[in-house]
């Protein structure tokens, strides 16, 4: 943990230990979606809305069937924080982003923003998905799609 004025710490893509989701029939499609490099969400075949987190029935139209469908993997940083507290001992500071997917304003993912230092990060930054495999899980992370404005 560094006070302002100290030499900048190295930044990490995430916590030193990735605690993982427990896969079940409802979430497996999401957490393994990155196996082919694509991000997927449930989508309603009735009203065409994307639905996240997974639920049994479309919460918008309460009608149509929900099926996992690939999305572009593009999004925008809605907000972010640089975590310094060592909840998991040995972790260097890492960026926890909240990303809104390009397809739908009310679908967001908590994620880590990688390939980007905090000094280049901003609310509204366009990002694209990238995956980090850990055991049987492909964690969606996001990286900048263009150089930030200077």
């Amino acid at each position: 943990m560094n006070a302002p004025g100290d030499a900048p710490a190295a930044f990490a893509p995430g916590p030193v230990l990735r605690l993982l989701p427990r896969l079940d029939d409802a979430n497996r499609f999401f957490w393994t979606s990155g196996e082919d490099g694509r991000l997927r969400f449930l989508r309603c075949h009735g009203c065409a809305m994307y639905v996240h987190p997974p639920v049994p029935r479309c919460p918008y139209c309460l009608d149509g069937p929900l099926v996992p469908e690939p999305v572009s993997g593009r999004g925008v940083v809605h907000s972010y924080t640089v975590n310094h507290q060592q909840w998991i001992p040995g972790s260097a500071p890492y960026i926890i982003g909240l990303v809104t997917i390009a397809e739908q304003e009310d679908v967001r993912l908590t994620t880590n923003i990688v390939d980007c230092g905090p000094e280049d990060l901003y609310v509204g930054m366009p990002v694209a998905v990238t995956f980090e495999r850990s055991e049987d899980v492909w964690l969606p992370l996001f990286r900048p799609v263009e150089l930030p404005p200077r």
Binding site: M1, N2, A3, P4, G5, G14, P15, L17, R18, L19, L20, P21, R22, L23, D24, N27, H52, P53, H78, S79, Y80, T81, V82, N83, H84, Q85, W87, I88, S91, Y94, I96, L98, D106, V107, R108, L109, T110, T111, N112, P118, Y122, V123, G124, S134, E135, V137, L139
Partner: protein, 407 residues
Amino acid sequence: MSRPDLLERRAVVSGIGQSDVGRRLGRSDLDLTVDACLQAIADAGLQRDDIDGLATFPGAGVGTGGFAGPSSPEVQDALRLKLNWHDGGLEGPGQLRAVFAACLAVAAGLARHVLVYRTVTESTAQGEGGRQGIGGGGGGASSRGVPRFSGFLQWTIPYGAVSAVNWIAWIAQRRMHEFGLTREQLAQIALNGRRNAARNPKAIYRDPLTLQDYLDVRMISTPLCLYDCDAPCDGSTAVVVSHADYAPDTPRPALHVNAIGTAIRGRPSWDQFDDMTTFAARDAAASMWARTELRPSDVDVAELYDGFSILTMVWLEEMGLCPKGESGPFVEGGARIALDGAVPLNTSGGQLSAGRLHGFGMLHEACLQLRGDGGERQVPGSPEVAAVAAGGGPIAGCMLLTRGPAS
């Protein structure tokens, strides 16, 4: 204006009590709770056998060490209470949900005098080990024997977003983007709390805090630093909620519940709620103001939850005590929120300096102020209306208390 439809107006806070509050008191949660409860019962001018209702937030078995306090069955048995109504639980409009439930119980005639308590022993439980994130197993295990997570935590824990401070830091960062909030403005919540805590003998931190101290201290989760986070403590707070027809008989002034705010209209989620700058405080406050003829300008003292400083900024705006998006400029310099300011705020020092009594400290302090029992930190001019708010993110509840009955 008589509003018989507003059932909460049939309730009063007839008594208040609070145990010792401190760091690592080394006493059990039940021990502290009994202290607070007996004080509240005596303060209400009642005997133990008069209590026929019991409620708590959140009830046992919730959260990490020292968070939950004793269960209502434990407290019932410790005091050998004979109950007509009882309630405990986590889900609902924030920490004050237990108080709201008690108000409705006395209004419905299910009980006449409800004891409501909230106890924390997080300081003793954490010992020297420091603050914990929100952990807890999700069931199942990976091949390495490391626990895996289900429910909401599955979406955050893989990314190291393991504490409310991470999610609440998003609120502050988003507000910096939308409203130009600065760290110097945010600091005023912490500095105001510390100034008031110096006048509160029970406060955890009473030494002076300067803006430079604030700017120099270590970051927890940007832009939130150590002084933006409340101080884990040990302590129990209790109130007695009675039917309003008991008000003439209380030894100390009974405080009237004018309106409660309980709404949540956005998605109940830390990362999916529609407006990250307000979260459910928007809905809770709107529902409260819809139930009263009072106006924000009538509020004489405001006790607004400061589990994290930014949450107080949100409540200031959503309660209508300053314009939307302008809480930063509003608190600048600290004069408007000081004890003699337009909106005296978190007069005990709040959770940032007086200790994380988890919402019930705000309620207790509002009662002290309305009774004129604030001692060195009493707000001048005999405050008549207090606003109390608790919670952050998708967890929010608020209420108005008045010294006299609604006219």
